[in-house]
C-alpha cells in the first residue's frame, strides 16, 4: 500500500522564550545543529515534491528563528498551505508580515484564565496571548486557540468558554501527556479526561458552531456510545502526516520525541527516500491486529481505531496501539454502559 503525505508539522526551532511546565518538547535552548536556511528551502521543495498539502511551522517558538519569514514564504511559493503554532509573545512585532503570508490558520496557546495560564507559562504571558489572538482576528486570519489540559487547568474550561465565546476563533482542546517537562502525576485521570470530553460535547450542542467552534484533538476519542462525533480511522503518524525536528530528523508525529521513532535525517537522505522506505513508520504502515496492546486487543473497534493516539499510548503504557484514554474503554469499564 502506498501512503500519501498530506501534512507536515515542523519544529522550526527549539528556541523558546517561555519554559512551560507542561512542554512536551522541553523547549528553550535551540538544538545544537538546527537546519540552515538553505537546508530549510531544500526541505520545503522535498515536501512539495512528495505532494504535501499542509505545513505547520511551530517550535519552540517559530517566530524566534531569524529566517522564519523566508522559510514560510518558501512554503507559500511552493503552493502548500501554511500554518503557524505560537505562544503569541512576540507575534505583535510580526503581525503585518504574518498577514502578508496569508496563513491558513495560526494557533495560539492559551492554557487557562490569567492566573492559571501564567502559573504554567510565566508572568505577563496571558495578556500577550490575548493580544495576539485579537491582532490575528483584526487581520482576518483564521485563529485557533490551543488549550492543553492537565490537572493544573482543566477546571478552568468553563471560565475559558466565557472568555472565548464569540471570539471568532476555533478552540482546540488537547490532553497534556507525560513527556518533556510534564510530570506524570499531573496527567488527567480517566474520569477527568472523560469529563473534559463531556464539556466539549456539551458546548458543541449548546452553541452554534460559529459562536463556539470547540473540538477535541487526536487524543480525544474513540467510538463512544454516548458522546457524538467520535469517528476515528487511526493515528495518521507516518501514513499521512510527519513531524520534522529542527535538526532535520523525521518522525511520524512530533509528540513522539523518543529517538527510537526517528526514521532518518534529511541531511543524510532526502525526504522521499525516508517516506518511501518500506521499513519506515512500521508501527502504523504495517499495522495489523496482532499489534494491538492489552487495552485494545479485545475491542471490537481495535482494527479500525488502531489503538488510538500513539504518542499518548506510548507515553502512558510504553507501547503503541494501547491507549487507555479511550471513550469506549472508559464507558465500558468505568461508567459501565
Amino acid at each position: 500500500m502506498t501512503y500519501k503525505l498530506k501534512c507536515a508539522v515542523w519544529e522550526l526551532t527549539l528556541k523558546c522564550n517561555l519554559r512551560c511546565s507542561h512542554c512536551g518538547s522541553s523547549a528553550g535552548i535551540p538544538r545544537k545543529n538546527e537546519l540552515t536556511t538553505k537546508e530549510c528551502f531544500k526541505l520545503c521543495e522535498e515536501l512539495a515534491d512528495l505532494g504535501c498539502k499542509d505545513v505547520s511551522l511551530m517550535g519552540g517558538e517559530p517566530f524566534l528563528r531569524e529566517d522564519w519569514f523566508q522559510v514560510a514564504q518558501c512554503v507559500n511559493n511552493l503552493g502548500m498551505n501554511l500554518n503557524f503554532v505560537s505562544n503569541g509573545i512576540v507575534l505583535d512585532r510580526y503581525i503585518d508580515k504574518i498577514a502578508k503570508l496569508k496563513p491558513k490558520v495560526v494557533g495560539i496557546s492559551l492554557d487557562g484564565i490569567k492566573e492559571t495560564h501564567e502559573s504554567i507559562r510565566g508572568k505577563g504571558t496571558f495578556d500577550k496571548a490575548i493580544r495576539a489572538i485579537d491582532l490575528l482576528r483584526e487581520k482576518g486570519i483564521q485563529t485557533t486557540i490551543i488549550t492543553t489540559v492537565s490537572k493544573l487547568n482543566f477546571k478552568d474550561l468553563p471560565k475559558m468558554k466565557d472568555l472565548l465565546f464569540k471570539k471568532n476563533a476555533n478552540w482546540q482542546i488537547q490532553v497534556a501527556m507525560p513527556f518533556g517537562n510534564f510530570k506524570k502525576e499531573q496527567i488527567l485521570s480517566k474520569e477527568e479526561f472523560y469529563s473534559t470530553a463531556m464539556f466539549i460535547a456539551k458546548e458543541r450542542i449548546k452553541n452554534k458552531f460559529e459562536d463556539m467552534p470547540v473540538i477535541g484533538a487526536h487524543c480525544y476519542g474513540y467510538y463512544s456510545k454516548i458522546l457524538p462525533g467520535c469517528k476515528w480511522d487511526g493515528c495518521s503518524a507516518g501514513t499521512s502526516a510527519i513531524g520534522i525536528t529542527s535538526d532535520g530528523n523525521i518522525v511520524g508525529c512530533l509528540s513522539m520525541g523518543n529517538n527510537r521513532f526517528m526514521e532518518g535525517n534529511i541531511r543524510n537522505q532526502n525526504l522521499r527516500q525516508i517516506w518511501e522506505n518500506p521499513s519506515s513508520f512500521s508501527y502504523n504502515q504495517k499495522f495489523d491486529k496482532t499489534k494491538l496492546g492489552p487495552n485494545c486487543k479485545n475491542c471490537k473497534y481495535g482494527i479500525k481505531c488502531k489503538g488510538g493516539c500513539n504518542s499518548m499510548s506510548y507515553s502512558i503504557t510504553n507501547q503503541f496501539h494501547n491507549n487507555p484514554y479511550c471513550f469506549y474503554n472508559i464507558e465500558k469499564n468505568i461508567i459501565k454502559v
Binding site: 501534512c7 485557533t144 468553563p158 463531556m198 499518548m312
Partner: protein
C-alpha cells in the same frame, strides 16, 4: 434513570443531568446521521458509476470523505437529460449538507498541529 457514574464525572465540570441527556440524544442522532450519509453516498456512487462508468474513491484515511464524490459531478452532468441532472445535483447537495452538519467534535486535529475549518 441516569447512570450515577456518568453524573459524577459530569459534575467535575458542572455538567448537569439535562446536559448529559442532550449529549446522549445528540450521540444517537449522530449515529443515525452517519447511516444516512452512508446511504446517500452509496446511492451517489451508484449513480456516478451508472452514468459515467467510472468511480471515485475517497481520499486515503477518509480525508475529505464524502466530499470526494463532488469532484466528478460537473463532468457527469454535461450532456445528460434534465431530470438526471436535477437528481444528481439534488443528491449531492443533500449529501453535502448532511456531511456539513456532521462537523467533527473529536479527533480531527493532530496533537502538536493546529485545527482549521
Amino acid at each position: 434513570m441516569m447512570n450515577q457514574k456518568l453524573k459524577e464525572i459530569g459534575q467535575k465540570l458542572d455538567i448537569s443531568e439535562k446536559d448529559i441527556r442532550s449529549i446522549g440524544k445528540k450521540g444517537i442522532a449522530r449515529n443515525i446521521l452517519y447511516w444516512i450519509i452512508g446511504i446517500i453516498v452509496a446511492i451517489l456512487s451508484f449513480v456516478v458509476g451508472f452514468f459515467v462508468g467510472k468511480g471515485t474513491c475517497p481520499a486515503e484515511g477518509g480525508g475529505g470523505y464524502p466530499f470526494a464524490a463532488g469532484v466528478v459531478i460537473p463532468s457527469m452532468i454535461s450532456g445528460k437529460k434534465k431530470s438526471t441532472k436535477i437528481a444528481v445535483l439534488l443528491i449531492s447537495a443533500i449529501a453535502f449538507l448532511v456531511a456539513l452538519k456532521a462537523a467533527p467534535v473529536f479527533g480531527y486535529a493532530i496533537k502538536y498541529n493546529v485545527y482549521k475549518r
